[in-house]
Symmetry: C2
DNA sequence: GAATTCGTTTAGAATAGTCTAAACGACGAG
DNA sequence: CTCGTCGTTTAGACTATTCTAAACGAATTC
């Protein structure tokens, strides 16, 4: 508590359970989407913390080592999910949660798209070019079969890429349309 | 080769490299999306195979055990990514790849949504109700802070759910709009 | 009804991933 | 300059996952 910055004292006793529930939940989501479970837990903790927490605060709150927090917080920072805060006269780094989920989603999508999605498309194209090299005259029926299947897969990935771009474009526009979409059926 | 069904003989020598490239690529995609790498490899193999392959054909082609193939092929079947084929007078099961990628994507989305996405929303709601129980009179400022943050997260997940539903609805409509979207910028 | 040939299950080995504790370099204070 | 406090890195322990080989039951053939 002495090391906490910008908070209004310890939370009411029962709220701790609510915080733990959210931390568990965000850890689960995180693991599901291919990130580390601890990353989600750290984010969940920061998300329900007014102000910012130091590395040691986080390690203590989640009962994990400082080294783990150091590694995972860097991943969170890379994804734009947390931000580093400096307080004057304090050599420690503090972190607070980014609360704009759409910005986070956009960033993660972008990261994923760059890192793996285009690589997928790349292997299809590479395979296609290998077929082309083997049978440039288009006489081999098996090669023809390969060509057709690979072309369909390529089409799919390209269309998928366009879809992702379209969704990203929507998030750029502050998602007014999507927000309206969500409003009309708030319960259930 | 004696155990292969409906194929037109062994593939031309150089095509093997193309097939291996695609198998590696689909294994990579598969692992990335949280499925097993072997599942993707099996699918890639079947996708570039005219006709259907038996369990042993697959195990031999990918150099993995029959037990592994048995387990993973069931997963692929559950996702609608492969289909079982019976040949009369042959006790073996044969498998062929589903080539409608949009149907596959829809199925996987549905599976994911049911299994984990709604569970995420559930933990946010549970956390919210815990806050409500602690501070029903809305007097505690920290509880109020929790409420606001949790409400924002809930909003996000609900809107995201609507977005997923909307995309699914598009895939139902044979994706004519999306196909057009993909056509207009076919190269790069 | 014994012997094959399937697909499935399972116990144990191999592998990959994750965490911690300790060591380390950087930095500032006394 | 020395000490203490940061964040980072790393070696080794630990855990979870995944694979294989073998055992098994069911179905079919001889």
């Amino acid at each position: 508590m002495a090391s906490r910055a910008n908070t209004q004292g310890p939370p009411a006793e029962g709220l701790e359970a609510a915080k733990q529930t959210l931390i568990r939940g965000s850890g689960r989501i995180s693991a599901f989407w291919g990130l580390n479970r601890a990353m989600g837990e750290i984010y969940g903790l920061l998300y329900l913390t007014p102000g910012a927490l130091s590395l040691d605060d986080i390690a203590h709150a989640l009962s994990i080592s400082k080294g783990s927090v150091s590694i995972h917080i860097r991943g969170l920072e890379r994804l734009g999910m947390v931000h580093k805060i400096w307080n004057v006269g304090d050599r420690r780094d503090y972190y607070e949660a980014e609360i704009d989920f759409w910005a986070i989603a956009k960033q993660i999508f972008k990261e994923r798209e760059k890192k793996e999605f285009e690589q997928a498309l790349g292997s299809v194209k590479e395979s296609m070019s290998l077929v082309e090299a083997v049978d440039p005259a288009h006489t081999d029926p098996t090669a023809q079969f390969y060509r057709e299947r690979l072309a369909e897969m390529q089409d799919f990935f390209m269309t998928l890429g366009k879809l992702v771009d379209a969704v990203q474009a929507l998030t750029e526009l502050r998602l007014s349309a999507l927000a309206a979409l969500g409003r009309d059926a708030q319960e259930e």
